[in-house]
Amino acid sequence: MIDFSLLKIELLLCGLIAILFILDLLFTNKKPLHIVAIAGTFITFAAALFFRDTGTTFVGSFISDDLSIFFKILFLLNAFLVILLSGDFLKKNPLYTGEYFILLLSATLGMVLMASSSELITFYISLELMSISSYILSAYQKSNPRSGEAGLKYLLLGAMASGMLLFGISLLYGAAGTLHYAEIAGVISAHAASPILYLAVVIILAAMSFKIAVVPFHMWVPDVYEGAPTPVVAFFSVGTKIAGFAVLMRLFMTAFVGLKAEWGILMAAISAITIIAGNLLAIPQTNIKRFLGYSSIAQAGYVLIGLAMATVAGLSATMFYLVAYLFSNLAGFAVIIIVSGKIEGDKIDDYKGLWKRSPILAVCLLISFMSLGGVPPLVGFFGKLYLFTSAVENGYVWLVAIGVLMSVVSIYYYLIVLKRVYIDPPLDTSPIRASIWENTALGICVAGTLIFGILPILFFDSVVSSVQTFLK
């Protein structure tokens, strides 16, 4: 039987997409679309907060549990915030407004499904739903060669990764004879693992590493971030990454849980390299979006630490950090979206004297960057703290040492940007103002960064308990 009650959020999203589609066809005035999108996403978001049915359906290929609900809330929040922030961009690129929302929401739908899939076909389809939508979104500004290039690069590399993923899944299928996570786990625990299984695991890990953008699978990130429209970048810098982690968490903690020792060390190695390379590469950047791309690579490296531990503490730390990342990163992007909407530039030098032009934006950027850099009492610090504690607990002191040292480096490059913002004189003193929607989004992000930083207790316990039930 198909239990539709578990699919409320997905159905709502589909409905929203359909409504937008119809409205787009019916009306030439695209303005209401934005409102509808905002309202619809918010309703879905609220629904995700409200409906907490758990269970499985579609013959076990769709699962709704605390974990998936948690991630869904994040995806919807992400979509909601990005849609709030898209107004200015759409005003300037009004040609395909309907399509923009539809693609954005279908990518969100892909993410939502990814978090719930417990079977490889479902997972693959939802992954592609998210990916293909993202490709198109990246190339949204058709006339801008950079946007097109970003889309093409994303697509080609994404397709290669997908192909690889498929090859890995096929090997897994050969080795295990099933596509359900739980059954794979059963097979692995029953038999000694064959090399082919190991190969499958490695390939799948690599393919997912592409999605979460960790070294050396990260190289698409800076180019795509630079070329793609800023709201879109904000969207998938958070969404895609969280979706990737959601899948990694479910897949590796259920299907491959028997091989924990092997992939744990692999992930630890990847995270170490990522933290080092990502942080170093961010230093010489001159483009703010590219800069944030590298910074997000480094952040992914940190998140991977928790996953590599494969313990309750590690997974809860990962989830907590993802929340932290969502708020902090989106806060940063919100500022960039607002600023780049006014000054038509992505150079870091364009941010000179932002303090004088808009103190609020400057403070928000400061909070965002300091949180990303792991400075107390902001939420990023707690995220890092939990990650590091879980790593120390498992004996990965070297990893923590690297993480801590490189977070000093990360402060360095964040300060390079903040130096422009606060210390350098402005090139142009005209004040920068944001629309109400943009301010709302920014406010939510900054509030999240601050409140969850000061009172992490607000949701930390629920994270831990959801991980505990998940691991049972």
Binding site: K153, V202, L266, L280
Partner: protein, 611 residues
Amino acid sequence: MFELTATVLLCPLAAFVLITFFTGKSEKISSLVSMVAMAVSLLSSLLIFALILSAPGDYELKIPWINILKDLPIEMGVLLNPVSSVMLMVVCTVSLFVQIYSVGYMHNDEGYSKYYSFISLFSFSMLGLVIANNLLQLYIFWELVGLCSYLLIGHWYHKPDAANAAKKAFVVTRFGDFGLLIAVIFLACKTGTFNFLEIERVIGSGILSPAAVTAVALLIFCGAAGKSAQFPLHIWLPDAMEGPTPISALIHAATMVAAGVYLVIRTYFIFDLSGTALSVIAIIGCSTAFMAGSIAIVQDDIKKVLAYSTISQLGYMMLALGVHGYTAGYFHLITHATFKALLFLGAGSVIHSLHTNNIWEMGRLFKNMKVTAVTFLIGGLALSGVYPTSGFFSKDAILIQTLESGHYVLFAVAFLTAGFTAFYMARVFFVVFLSKEKFSGKHPHESPAVMYVPLILLATLAVGLGFFSEGFSRLIFFGKINEPEHAVLIPLLSNLSAIGAIVLAWAIYQKELISAAALEQRFAFVHKFLKNKYYIDEMYVFCVKNILFVVSNAAGWFDRHIVDGAVNGAFYLTSSAAGALRKLQTGMVQNYAVGIFGGVILLWFFMNMMK
């Protein structure tokens, strides 16, 4: 008795506070406050002395200061005994006379009130030093008198020479203080107390090895040498003459510079245990006396002559202490305080009227300044050790003691130095007061009464004190009373030599029977050597320039370029690593794909490796 001590101590302090914070605007009131305070102190100290005299002994008062450890109490306190009570009197007397004198000397000076406040502070510090019952307190006041010396030498701070001299005085004495500080800490750690009497008791029980005792004694002497301007730390004292002349009389002749000697006297129980330390003191004292005495012969600046003479006499005191002449050394300290203060004040009187320090720009002042000349003469005779002045008694006691202790070489040198002393004093006297006029356009006049009355009083003391020598030796002694031997030969010889030297000086400088220039020509090398003060200053300059500054510049350079270079290097390394990594990001999709597929292969190998 301790109430009196409090009066002695607190009056000058109160004066300092009053002048600094309240009466600074009014010069008259300031000087009055200061002098009244000093007079009260003097009276109290006389009373204390009378009380001590009636019942000699150690009277101690302890006040806890810092409580950290039970077994190492840190206290302030008072120790009254004959030694300290005599010193109290000396300090109060000289200080009061100098203050009275300064009313005239510093008249119309810009920093008049400041001068009096510092002099009060100095008196307070010096008195605190004298009555200290423990080493720490002594060290504290020791540093404070150093500070006052610094401030008063630098009274005319706008003169670069004065500012330099002040700095030099402080820094050079600090070198000595360093030794004293180590000694204090060492003793405190080993004996568990700072208190003199207790240290004496503990050390007496033989807790320290002989080597440790010698080390401590030498470290203490190090401090004493700095303050009392013993070779090789004497270089600051001649420069200190940049300060006002009354200050030279008070601090750099009578009291502070004698503090080193006083310190050795206070801690004599340590020195007594170490023959090595005593020999070192004797040798250094003697060589200082000789060296300074010989330099004084060729000085042209009247205050410089007196300064070297002071160094020389302090050397005598140290020599006395080094040859177990405890009483003799201390007595010389006291007599020296009077006649040297007298000489300085006399010199000040001359300088005040002529506005020059150079003796070759003076001459025949006897005619204009009778009182000054006569008192100066008395002081000079006392310094030369001519009977019946006080200098005669104290200096001959030292000579006798040296001979008796069997240090014949030291005796010979000290004897020769006594001759030098007489010669240079006579030289100064003849050139300044008797020889023909060498100034023009100036009208020297006798100083006002506030200046010459102290001269007369001091001159009386300089003559009269000698007759107390026997009583003194019965009051102050170490171990057993050192009955002065009534040797006749040595006093006779020394007096004869002194008179001989005076006659020689008379012949050269008054009658010009022997040409000074010819002598200089004849002994050009010696003259140059003396004129350049044995090249010791040059040696210091060389050391400071080539060692200290080089080292400090090296440290500065090392810090900027090596330590900081490493920091900047790490930064550079990080940025260049980032730059190198950045090159991998070529912008070509296929290179990125190589990353992806290569990554898979790497992961696979890594996984197999870890398995």
